[in-house]
Amino acid sequence: MFKKRFLTAVAVILIMTGTLYLLERLLMPKHVSAIVEGSLIEEYYKEEKGHDVIFVGDCEVYESFSPITLWEHYGITSYIRGSAQQLIWQSYYLLEETLKYEKPEVVVFNVLAMQYDQPQKEAYNRMALDGMRMSLSKFKSIRASMIEDEKFIEYLFPLLRYHSRWSELTAEDLRYMFRKGKLFHNGYYMRVDVKPVETVPRGRKLADYQFGKNAYYYLDRMVELCKESDIELVLIKVPSLYPYWYDEWEAQMEDYAQRHGLMYINFLELIEEVGIDFAQDTYDAGLHLNVTGAEKMSVYFGKVLQNTFGLEDRRNEVDLSRAWQQKADFYYRMKEDQYRELEEYGYLKSLGARPPESTAVD
């Protein structure tokens, strides 16, 4: 009798847990054909680790560097752990988590995120946090990121957040319930389209140009974390024309880098040297670089990394080369697909072609 009851209880719990798991998989946004940026963070876990360089930061990072170019030109392996409007504490905790998987030579952080001292929007939080695997770093990042109405438990059990999607499910939700192909290139989000800069924006006046205490707190922690792990930290500001980068902000970053003995590169001052042409190298009039812009940036920055930190050229490692060749094939295939799509429709209808499952690099 007892055994029967026990088995029944176990079966009920298993069925309930299984159903909830399936429902969660079904109802979570897939970010495959719309707002693909939501898939950036989770792709990292499918990768072979052991990268030389890890980039952390917001959209400016995942649109401004092409790891494939860094590999092809310098034999540097890199990965971008970035997401849309990724806040500095999210970058910090992502880095903390990344260091549990691997120990890069260099970490690169884009300083635009210093402008935010407080959590901003749930949608961006979700893009940065949903894709993270369960870990202490994720929990800490959630706690630091939540806006007023958000609940911690809804991050632990996303079904509680996304349950209302039941009425808007599409075939895509079923198709990608358990598995989806790669959409990015080691965290790089490719866009081949062009929308030239027509007017260079001017920054509106701010009441206060001082970066917040919270932002500095996490920057300090990032510096400390890298120091403890014997990793070089490089601060950069990529050459996006807006959000506007103020002189006052620049002064603070220069001062900070100097005080902490860090390399800081403001690419806005190197636009000509890098060769960025805002008539061709941006897909949204100066907000983000497109693939040509990202490749130029990578060619320039790879040299800096190699010269400054003596990163080795690893193209002679056979297994690594084979793996990166697959990545490059995917990269060029997607590039061709995007150009073809652009020609056919005049815009990127699907926001990036997807590789056949068989050739996906996992």
């Binding site: 069925i15 159903t19 109405d149 438990i153 079904l159 509680l160 349950h163 209302s164 039941w166 009425s167």
Partner: protein
């Protein structure tokens, strides 16, 4: 802390576990601590109010009880020495002493309720009068927050003190036990209004873990959550769209809003009570039922015997009856019979009491003219029904339809529509607007404006309407099943697979279909505000 919140679910889960792990003699103490913690989350300052009400009620009850015991002792000791007149005079003296203490307690506790709930309403009315007479003076409003559940716990403690005064039961000698009776958290949010002699039978007892009781309680909690978060909070969006835009939504939309609000209020209030009774049942405590399929009522009077039952009986026992037999009312009754004869003359005092009770019921529901008019309309409908009784009798003597299904259905539909129409006073911002909107149901009732597009414009999608329709069918089915006894009893004798399928569907429905979390304006239970 809202019932429909993660915090509350965590709170009761921890409580259930700890409750059955600690020594049973400490269970009621744990409940007191949990109740005060629950109340603390609604605002720490509110603890002062509930503590004050508990303390004043306790002290006065103990005093009245002592007076009663002394009286009994005195009379027993002097049984042979006092004449009948002397005993009568002594009893009257003692009764007067008790009455003074009772009055003190009523003034103190109703005073707290009056000050916190009605001060600004009074000021608004005074200001309105001052404006009307052209005075430039305006009184400032007080910034007083209404303590959660104050109407409920004040009524509960007042029923306790009156019952002690009436000698129905002795005073509770342990202050902390009375404090638990006052603050027992599941019913603090929206009732029911328990009586001490009912609740105390199980509130302070030692309860061992009874799997059947716990199961039944959990079933009731789930059913309550289903009604609240899947149905009430979903239809709330459409109701709000209609009532907040009276310039746009008139005529047929007022009718739709009226039906939707009837649905929302039923699902919300009965859902909340299901959760309350379910939690108490898991704890081994029996709380009175507050609803008995009210939408199946065939008259207004019957409706009020089946809707918010504990409130109705409170007003009946502690206001209507005492008022009806009070000195002034008896005098008025004599006058009325002399003036209008034995028929109408007898009924008029009853009607006056009815109107006074319904005026108070309206005022209890909220400090606004909307609620007062709502109460008066309910009283008026009941009186008109009673006055029309001879007409009904004549009709039924001519047409033998009384026991036909069609006529009963007509009575049910009529009662629901009438109650729902009066209840629209809850919704619109003032009384004239409510009547104007109800008027448009007759002057601008154009069904052709009720298109699919217009319905979607109320903030609900097709999927939401489907959920609400299925929910409505489930509510009706459960109500019909309840006519022959408890649905949970019926479920208990079904095979395990059927039982688990029902739980499974309920849990999944709540989790997936529930209108909760980010993106939803999660609402408090409507009765919280009272």
């Amino acid at each position: 802390m809202l019932f429909a919140s993660y915090g509350f679910i965590l709170f009761i889960t921890v409580l259930f576990v700890v409750y059955y792990l600690i020594p049973r003699r400490h269970q009621w103490k744990l409940l007191l601590g949990a109740s005060y913690l629950f109340y603390y989350f609604s605002g720490p300052e509110n603890l002062l109010y509930i503590f004050f009400t508990s303390l004043s009620t306790y002290m006065v009850a103990v005093k009245i009880d002592a007076i009663q015991k002394n009286q009994a002792l005195f009379l027993a000791a002097n049984s042979g020495r006092l004449s009948r007149e002397e005993r009568k005079a002594y009893r009257a003296l003692v009764k007067s002493q008790q009455r003074k203490w009772l009055l003190l307690c009523l003034i103190l506790n109703f005073g707290v309720l009056a000050v916190t709930k009605y001060t600004n309403f009074t000021i608004a009315n005074i200001n309105s009068v001052l404006r009307t007479v052209g005075s430039g003076t305006q009184l400032s409003f007080w910034s007083l927050a209404l303590p959660m559940g104050i109407s409920f716990y004040t009524f509960q403690t007042m029923s306790y003190i009156i019952d002690v005064y009436r000698g129905k039961h002795p005073a509770e000698s342990n202050f902390f036990k009375l404090a638990l009776f006052t603050s027992f958290f599941p019913q603090l949010v929206q009732g029911p209004i328990s009586r001490f002699d009912d609740l105390s039978k199980t509130l302070y007892n030692e309860h061992s873990f009874d799997i059947q009781n716990v199961n039944r309680g959990l079933q009731r909690i789930m059913w309550g959550f289903f009604k609240k978060v899947v149905l009430a909070d979903r239809i709330l969006v459409a109701v709000n769209t209609i009532i907040r835009n009276p310039d746009i939504y008139q005529g047929v939309f007022v009718f739709i809003g009226m039906l939707f609000y009837a649905y929302e209020l039923y699902a919300d209030f009965t859902g909340g009570i299901d959760i309350t009774i379910g939690i108490a049942q898991v704890l081994g405590i029996k709380v009175k039922e507050n609803f008995k399929r009210p939408y199946f009522s065939k008259s207004t009077a019957e409706y009020w015997r089946r809707w918010h039952i504990t409130m109705g009986t409170w007003f009946k026992d502690y206001l209507f009856y005492p008022l009806s037999v009070s000195g002034p009312m008896l005098k008025f009754s004599k006058f009325s019979r002399r003036r209008f004869g034995d028929g109408l003359g007898k009924r008029i005092p009853v009607y006056v009491s009815t109107i006074l009770v319904w005026f108070t019921t309206g005022l209890w529901h909220g400090a606004s003219w909307n609620f007062i008019v709502w109460g008066l309309l309910n009283g008026t409908v009941i009186i008109v029904s009673l006055e029309c009784q001879p007409l009904y009798d004549w009709f039924h003597s001519r047409f033998h339809v009384k026991h036909t299904f069609g006529f009963r259905l007509f009575q049910v539909v009529r009662t629901v529509l009438l109650m729902s129409a009066i209840r629209m006073l809850d919704c619109y911002r003032d009384v004239p607007l409510t009547f104007r909107m109800l008027g448009t149901m007759f002057t601008r009732f154009n069904v052709s404006t009720l298109t699919g597009k217009a319905l979607m414009g109320l903030g609900l999608g097709m999927a939401d309407y489907m959920v609400l329709l299925v929910g409505l069918v489930a509510l009706i089915a459960v109500s019909l099943l309840q006519r022959d006894g408890s649905v949970r009893n019926k479920l208990a004798v079904k095979p395990a697979a059927v039982r688990f399928a029902v739980y499974y569907v309920l849990i999944i429905s709540i989790l997936v279909l529930g209108a909760y979390g980010m993106g939803y304006d999660s609402s408090q239970f409507i009765y919280n505000q009272f």
